[in-house]
Symmetry: C2
Subunit: 190 residues, 2 copies
């Protein structure tokens, strides 16, 4: 039972419907918690039944109605308990790294292509994070915002996401060029 805390933490920032939450988990939240839309729908239903979130119908014009959810007092209390508990070890799974681990024993061609693609995706995400951070801090300088701003949590996690994406891009480009150089050297020997 851990997805629930990620959902509660995401809802602290603003109320979301299942669909909007899925979008959030696709961008910002994705830096520290991976979940598919179907999980969010079922988790929200469970959280509502347990009284940790409250849903209400929002009538919309020009698009289907939706149900948005707010964290209740009991939900905040649950987050408090979670914050005090020992964190579980970081959970990472990355196909691409598995492929690099095996790169000297299987054909490196596909892996190099996938590294290039990942680096390009990282560039897009870096720009998105920079824009999001600028939007969150508004016209304040970063130092000021970190000291006195509201919504400091999302800002700090975005900073982490940004740093991670920059690291990802550097590692992918570096690794791709190492593997390419080795393929070229190998080709020369033939």
């Amino acid at each position: 039972m851990a997805l629930r805390h990620a959902v509660l933490a995401a809802l602290l920032d603003s109320d979301f419907s299942g669909y909007q939450l899925a979008k959030a988990f696709d961008v910002g939240v994705a830096n520290f918690w991976h979940a598919l839309p179907q999980q969010l729908y079922t988790e929200l239903a469970k959280l509502e039944k347990e009284g940790l979130v409250a849903g209400r119908e929002v009538v919309q014009h020009g698009r289907p109605n939706k149900r948005v959810f707010t964290v209740t007092g009991a939900g905040v209390a649950e987050l408090e308990r979670f914050a005090a508990a020992e964190p579980k070890p970081t959970f990472i799974r990355d196909d691409l790294l598995v492929k690099v681990q095996a790169a000297d024993r299987v054909g490196a061609g596909h892996v190099v292509r996938q590294l290039d693609e990942r680096a390009a995706a990282a560039t897009t995400r870096i720009a998105a994070f920079e824009a999001l951070l600028a939007r969150l801090r508004g016209d304040q300088a970063e130092d000021d915002y970190l000291r006195h701003g509201t919504r400091i949590g999302p800002y700090l996690t975005c900073l982490r996401g940004l740093a991670l994406e920059r690291e990802t891009r550097e590692w992918c480009t570096g690794t791709a060029s190492v593997l390419r150089a080795r393929e070229a050297a190998h080709a020369e020997q033939i």
Copy 2:
């Protein structure tokens, strides 16, 4: 069916028993694939039944005997297929980041402590990675090793792990000091 590829990639490097593999997944492999020992035992049994790895008994003196596993030709072929397939999105879950996301709404005290602990753990891991990298490359310079060395895959993934841990340490110390400064400022207002 993805744990199997991480297991196969780890076994390319050298033969391991279930127990040894669990240790590897606790240190080096943990940077890109999280798995518990119980999973590895069951996965090895499945892989053996399917002929992707071959096990053999190793008689030991002074400790219980063990079964070590080698990747078969079919296992390498399976890895080739995996390398050519599109990678699944990176899967990350980190309790600590969820807590930071919520840090302006729940008590920050525990979170600050956990950030300090994570930074300290990162320091330990950084030293372990540096030692492992030095051992892998032996007396060669890094450039040379990257161009001509064997076992380049594990070296590249360790480089990634090292960069990630350094980033983790910086972010944790920075975030802890931001949260501490805000708590101090809040206390003054009372």
